[in-house]
Amino acid sequence: MSAVHEGRSTPDVATAKARRWGSWYVAEHRLRSMRAYAQTILATSIGNPVVYLFALGVGLATLVPTGVGDATYLQFVAPALLATAAVTVATEEFTYPVLMGFKWNPIFFGMNAAPISGTQIANGLALSVLARILVTCVIYFLFMLAFGAVPSPIGWLAILAATLTGTAIGLAIMAYTCTVEEDKGQMAVIMRFIVTPLFLFSGTFFPLTQLPLYLQWIGWISPLWHGTELGRLLTYGYEEPIWLTVIHVVYPLALAVFGLVAAQRIITRRLDK
């Protein structure tokens, strides 16, 4: 191989850079594309926390004047809403935009015709969505502060917990979306039959223990429950055994890694036609 490239540095440099930075180039591309709908991103990033924190943290809270445990209802529900916002963004970005990249706006094939690999496409998508989730969570958190929902000084760490939650669910969804050849409403099914039940049964509005035991398993396997509990621990010092806190971190992390590796393999296989 070296003999072939002797005296021709440009392809070597291009290849070396693409091997090293390819994932970032994909992320850069996706972030530029997001500018096309930046206004929607900004409007939802600001509108969602205002609406949800008012409706649930202020409105619904009047029905729960004693709060939950040591926390007010606003403090109890705010970390759950933060994690849910992260999951919503992840679901938006890892469903139709991924399907589009293969089908209606097949940019992944274009990237792959350049020196970019399937693995780098998966990584780049993950990075760009991670950035969008992080921005959404920071804005959400600022509203939580403004509403007085974060008594703990280390509460800002809930931004990372929520980002991890969104990424974990999102990457698993991306792995699945990459297998979809024809759109037969699978994306709507993900939203209605996976994301919505997770939102409702992950201890979002009430402690998971309030549910009958035969429904509590939904929370145990839901990264949203783990992320929410972690958020509560960080924003108002919700107490739980340390081993459970470890699980709240390790489980979504493992799911994220699994989702990313699966997506890398599926994209690589799908591009090699």
Partner: protein, 308 residues
């Protein structure tokens, strides 16, 4: 022939039991304009994807610029420009931004890509559309933008998979002009097409492929000489009479072919054959003498049945 930039030997691509490419051999020289001519489903695009280092071959040998594309995919792809059959521009980005983000995939800094992008937009006659949305471009403009994008890394080889399919004649001619300029600059062009005029215009050498195999190889003129005649006389005798008249044409032309609506007489001198037909007392309703074309070669080699 100088050291080839692309060399394939017994190249095979199978999908389960179906051989899309069934063991083909070819070599392409630097600066050459080489075409794969064949009907739909002949294996042209599959071959192009293997050359483009995005499709792993099932068997045989393939070398692009001295490298095995299955082992050195990114190294190979960094030196190619690819114009796929289906445009895959990013419709979420503006025209110029499509070139900028694509240049980044080759590790180029934005300060290098920006002037190159402007230069390529000029080359593709799209300078005034730099800030337009891709969706608002016509089919021909999108094609030209895709070609401009494929040139952003200054490739040694440009792969074009049916570059003008679906374009109107004006757009095709503009595209041919741009491709011809690239050829003059020494870029190796590899293209697939099922337009004979395109192959004759652009290709120094081509292979006719059908059902995953190479049926013939040569320059357009060489193929016409070998598989057709200098001229073709087309005569029409009206519905139902062509078959009957054809039986009386023994000895006229090198060979003839009876189609439902006309008879084709292959000959070195079409006018002389027409005189001989008149001398036999046969009166065609219409007659036409034309130069033999690559289309005659193509139809002879790949047959006239519809492939879908």
């Amino acid at each position: 022939m100088p050291q080839p930039v692309i060399r394939a030997s017994n190249l095979v691509k199978k999908y389960k039991d179906f051989a899309a490419v069934g063991g083909i051999d070819f070599e392409i020289a630097p600066g050459e304009s080489f075409g794969f001519l064949g009907p739909n489903g002949a294996g042209k695009s599959t071959t192009m994807r293997m050359i483009g280092a995005v499709s792993t071959r099932t068997g045989g040998e393939l070398e692009i610029l001295g490298l095995d594309p299955d082992k050195y995919g990114p190294e190979v792809r960094s030196q190619l420009g690819v114009v796929p059959q289906q445009d895959n521009l990013d419709v979420d980005l503006r025209v110029r931004d499509n070139l900028i983000v694509y240049g980044r995939y080759f590790g180029l800094p934005t300060r290098t890509i920006a002037p190159r992008a402007d230069e390529l937009l000029g080359f593709a006659q799209l300078s005034d559309r730099a800030k337009a949305r891709v969706e608002d471009l016509s089919g021909g403009m999108k094609r030209r933008l895709t070609i401009a994008r494929a040139l952003i890394n200054d490739p040694k080889i440009l792969l074009l998979d049916e570059p003008t399919t679906g374009l109107d004649p004006q757009a095709r001619h503009i595209l041919w002009d741009r491709l011809f300029r690239l050829k003059e600059q020494g870029t190796t062009l590899v293209l697939t097409t099922h337009y004979m005029d395109e192959a004759e215009q652009l290709c120094d050498r081509l292979v006719v492929v059908d059902k995953g195999s190479i049926m013939a190889e040569g320059s357009p003129a060489d193929l016409i000489r070998r598989f057709s005649s200098r001229e073709v006389l087309e005569v029409r005798f009206g519905g139902g009479r062509n078959e009957e008249v054809a039986s009386q044409l023994g000895g006229i032309g090198d060979r003839h072919e009876v189609l439902p609506d006309r008879i084709l007489v292959y000959s070195q001198d079409g006018e002389a054959e027409l005189s001989r037909i008149h001398q036999l007392g046969l009166k065609p309703i219409t007659s036409l003498v034309r130069r033999s074309s690559l289309e005659d070669v193509f139809l002879r080699l790949t047959g006239r049945s519809l492939i879908e």
